[in-house]
């Protein structure tokens, strides 16, 4: 916040942004004027009336803008990014001074906070269009650190992240949440139901693990198996089901099309008959077939 007391501090520049632009007049810097940070009519904007302009984010620049002797290194101001000498805590504190409430209630102690992620690691403030705020470009920003998830997104069965049609924030709250994995919903299933509301139920006949955790069977970041399943059916089903009769029979190469084709192996395997694995609302649907 700009204050009269602030005006008396010797370490602010004499003329604010007018001082800064005497040197920093490149297009990349000036692009901040195409962002919401440079809206003079918004009193909370860094360029709002009475605010500290460039120094609202970059800190007092009196020494930086002052005269230096020949050969003397110009004192640094607060810079953002991984190469900055300013600690990440200090960088983030400048952002939080205005955006504390915008980051929700759970930034402190979140995975990103714990791992000292800087706001500027994800956000580019001088960019007219911050890539992390657009669905089509967000994942590339996240993948800079979450490289394993980038690999998974390239698997043949995955959500449309690599196509730029789904953002990581569709499921995750990068500013923190008390859920595991910073999920946007109350739980794993609560997050999935946001797009897959048809599976919410409650059904008359429920499939117990389905009601608890979609991740019991699905890998949401991508899988080599259809339906983003974590294992090929029928073996996935046989990891839990060993009823007497057909569920217990090993489905080996003898059941392939070239041998004696097995309805328990080919097509949709167990789902050839038990199609309603997410639950059934049929009065006689206890076997999840109807």
């Amino acid at each position: 916040q700009a204050t009269d007391e602030g005006a008396e501090l010797p370490d602010y520049s004499r003329k604010g942004a007018d001082t800064c632009f005497q040197c920093h007049d490149d297009q990349a810097t000036l692009a901040v004027f195409r962002t919401k940070h440079a809206m003079p009519q918004d009193p909370n904007s860094p360029f709002g009336h009475g605010q500290l302009q460039c120094e609202a984010c970059h800190g007092p620049a009196g020494d930086h803008a002052g005269r230096v002797r020949r050969g003397q290194e110009r004192p640094a101001i607060l810079a953002f990014g991984s190469m900055s000498t300013t600690s990440i805590a200090d960088q983030n504190a400048y952002c939080a001074a205005c955006h504390d409430a915008d980051t929700g209630f759970a930034w402190h102690g979140s995975a990103h906070d714990d791992n000292t992620v800087a706001c500027s690691d994800c956000h580019t403030m001088h960019n007219e269009r911050d890539p992390v705020l657009a669905t089509s470009t967000q994942a590339e920003v996240c993948f800079d650190c979450h490289q394993q998830q980038r690999t998974q997104s390239m698997k043949p069965y995955a959500h449309p992240v690599r196509q730029g049609k789904m953002a990581c924030t569709s499921c995750h709250s990068p500013h923190g949440d008390t859920t595991e994995r910073l999920l946007a919903g109350s739980t794993v299933n609560g997050t999935c139901y946001d797009c897959h509301a048809e599976l919410r139920g409650p059904y008359l006949w429920e499939h117990a693990p389905v009601t608890e955790d979609c991740n019991s069977c699905h890998n949401p970041h991508g899988s080599t198996q259809p339906g983003m399943l974590s294992m090929r059916a029928p073996m996935l089903c046989q990891s839990c089901h060993s009823q007497d009769g057909h569920p217990s029979v090993p489905q080996d190469a003898g059941g392939l099309a070239s041998n004696i084709p097995s309805a328990l192996l080919l097509g949709q395997s167990c789902l050839n008959c038990h199609d309603q694995v997410h639950g059934s609302n049929h009065p006689s649907g206890s076997k999840l077939m109807r």
């Binding site: 490289q147 690999t151 043949p156 009823q243 050839n272 109807r290």
Partner: protein, 676 residues
């Protein structure tokens, strides 16, 4: 500073936009190429992309359009007075294209029934269906999702913000259902018509120390096709020629939540909490036990289920830095799903063919889950930090083999930054998931082999570790980072079921800023998942086992180049993904056997280029290339399986180019110049 006016600041005023219009030609028809992109047909596509803004005296309007000519189009708009109010609206389409090599004998009648071709002669097996070949009609399997959203923010006072968002999602198209007719089953093209309305609304209070948000979330799902009726192509018992299944019932869910945080001056401490209470209801009309008039049943217990699930979520977190070098955290979270659905007696009619004579009761599953975390980090120096944590999680479940499951996890982490260009992080830990007991009586009542240990309920010991390194030499325009992760799950007490699983991931990223105008990157990733399971053909000890090896490799390379004059802009991205799944079985009855490898290979390239002819006009070019090949033995023809009539979808195998050219026009100022 309060007198600063900034005479040289080039504040934005007026209209500015950039619009791309062009045409793209797609070389071939491939459903999967069009999956999520909209390029599923061959031929020409017109397309428009763009973005713009209008700023005037504190009011601001921003808009974006993407892929306007495609089935993946996006339109977004926001407008308002910054810091006071904002209105936003959006429209988004998402095409899901699954198969275009699928074909079916079924047609859809006006009442939604899937009917057989006229004069169809039912048969016991698919290869006895004499009219099958001549009756198949190609049917693309895929759905389209449309999302409309509107929302607003309003700050009536400095400390308050009100927000409300409404979103309507519709999904329509054709999906695959497989439904049995006693001993046979048919893959059905199922027409989908779903609609979900969602509301997020609330009020937020914020001050320097306190932030509180009171919010409402509502979800209202409607299915226009709550049942599926079809004529079976198989020979069946009298009266069971037409069958019916229920589909996803309408459901509602509402939740009220209060979340907040309080920043205490003492010890640099932040306290955060969340309390949420929700209720889900499902009261869709039942379909009858059977539509076969020859099957006698009792009356349904009701016309609908009157199902209700209550949810509770609350959490509490304290993060504190009592001294500058020490940071500690405590968190507790509780989630509950309390299924209040009434339990009733139900007849069991087997696929409209016959009554089993059994009376069954529905099982309303409930659970609660508590999760406690404690962690701390100590910075010995600016370059070296040590962290450790402990987690405890307990899940209580109703009606399942395990009533109480407790997981304890311990971890440690070292972070070392010996120089400004090297950052190392290593984390490792172990967890033990114990159970009160595996109730074999419950397992037997569910028809399960009492030795089976379901993997989500079973005892599990897990070890995991991860190492991450980032190298960014200040004097070189290079940066390199790599990560290695392993996780080893051991289900030591599972005689039948999943016995173990190991995952190993490795990544490496290299980027090189060749000059101020050009950069190159190279990325690599590998994900290996191995699993081992046992099964038993009879109740008793295991007599077969299966080993799974699931490998995936990804290589990506790309570059961007923009010469100094700023007229030419070029980027290239190439990705290759290679997946391979090997499954080997060994059984007492059949001996060792291996299933053929399941393989996928993706080659994907994107080239984008533009050239500015003038300050406002540019020409654009883009190339999207994709080759994908899948080997999957499960995808079989309509007649491969005697008792399963599939849609005959073939494994993907395509090689498609999409080449486009266009023009770009820029409205408003391009270069930003300081005010005089």
């Amino acid at each position: 500073t309060s007198d600063w006016t900034c005479e040289s600041c080039p504040f934005e005023q007026g209209y500015r936009a950039e619009i791309d219009a062009g045409a793209t030609n797609v070389s071939d028809e491939a459903a999967r190429f069009g999956n999520y992109t909209g390029y599923d047909e061959d031929g020409a596509y017109a397309d428009v992309d763009g973005h713009g803004s209008y700023v005037n005296d504190g009011y601001r309007l921003d808009w974006t359009v993407e892929d306007l000519g495609l089935d993946s189009r996006v339109v977004e708009l926001s407008m308002g007075k910054q810091g006071v109010f904002e209105f936003r609206a959006g429209y988004r389409e998402l095409p899901f294209r699954r198969f275009d090599t699928s074909s079916t004998i079924f047609s859809r009648a006006a009442d939604g029934t899937l009917t057989l071709p006229a004069g169809w002669i039912p048969a016991s097996t698919t290869n006895q269906m004499t009219q099958l070949g001549s009756s198949l009609q190609q049917r693309v399997v895929g759905t389209d999702r449309q999302i409309v959203d509107v929302g607003a923010d309003w700050k009536p006072a400095e400390m308050f913000r009100l927000f409300a968002d409404f979103r309507r999602q519709t999904r329509d198209g054709i999906d695959i259902s497989s439904a049995g007719s006693y001993t046979q089953a048919a893959f059905l093209p199922r027409w989908v018509d779903h609609e979900t309305d969602q509301v997020d609304a609330g009020v937020q209070y914020r001050s320097d120390a306190v932030s509180l948000t009171l919010a409402y979330y509502g979800s209202f799902f409607t299915n226009q096709n709550p049942s599926l009726t079809w004529e079976t192509p198989f020979l069946t018992v009298p009266g069971a020629t037409t069958l019916r299944a229920a589909r996803e019932p309408d459901n509602d869910f509402s939740q009220i939540s209060l979340a907040g945080k309080y920043r205490m001056a003492a010890g640099n401490t932040v306290v955060a909490f969340l309390v949420a209470s929700g209720r889900g209801e499902q009261n869709a009309d039942f379909v009858p036990y059977t539509i076969n008039p020859d099957v006698v049943t009792t009356a349904l217990p009701g016309t609908s289920l009157d199902a209700e699930v209550n949810t509770v979520n609350y959490s509490f977190t304290v993060t504190s830095r009592p001294i500058s070098k020490l940071r500690v955290k405590y968190g507790y979270r509780y989630d509950e799903r309390d299924n209040k659905t009434p339990i009733s007696d139900w007849d069991r009619v087997i696929v409209d063919a016959l009554s089993s004579g059994e009376i069954e009761q529905n099982v309303p599953y409930s659970y609660d889950r508590a999760h406690m975390t404690v962690s701390g980090e100590y910075a010995f120096t600016n370059k070296f930090r040590l962290a450790a944590g402990y987690e405890w999680k307990q899940i209580n479940r109703d009606y399942q083999e395990v009533a109480e499951q407790t997981t304890e996890l311990g971890w440690g982490q070292v972070r070392w930054r010996p120089t400004t260009w090297l950052d190392l992080r290593a984390k490792g830990g172990a967890s033990r998931r114990g159970i009160d007991r595996y109730n074999e009586t419950t397992a037997i009542s569910l028809g399960q082999n009492p030795l089976m240990r379901k993997y989500n309920l079973a005892y599990r010991y897990r070890e995991f570790g991860e190492v991450v390194a980032a190298i960014s030499p200040a004097e070189l325009p290079l940066s390199f980072s790599t990560s290695v992760l392993f996780a080893d799950d051991d289900y030591q007490e599972s005689l039948v079921g999943l016995n173990g699983a190991e995952e190993f991931r490795i990544t490496a990223d290299l980027s090189w800023a060749v000059s101020d105008n050009a950069s190159i990157y190279l990325v690599y990733g590998q994900d290996k998942i191995d699993a081992h399971q046992t099964g038993a053909e009879q109740f008793g000890f295991w007599d077969w086992s299966a080993f799974h090896e699931d490998d995936f490799d990804h290589v990506g390379v790309g570059m961007s180049w923009r010469p100094t004059d700023g007229k030419f802009d070029f980027s290239l991205d190439y990705n290759r993904g290679n997946g391979e799944t090997r499954i080997a079985l060994d059984s007492l009855s059949g001996g060792p056997s291996s299933l053929p490898d399941l393989e996928s290979t993706l080659d994907s390239a994107n080239v984008k280029a533009s050239y500015a002819f003038s300050e406002r006009w540019s020409g654009t070019f883009h190339l999207r290339y994709e080759r994908f090949e899948l080997k999957d033995w499960a995808l079989v023809s309509q007649t491969t399986l005697p008792t399963i009539l599939t849609l005959g979808a073939q494994p993907y195998d395509y090689d498609v180019y999409a080449v486009g050219i266009g023009i770009r026009y820029r409205f408003g100022d391009g270069e930003i110049t300081l005010a005089e």
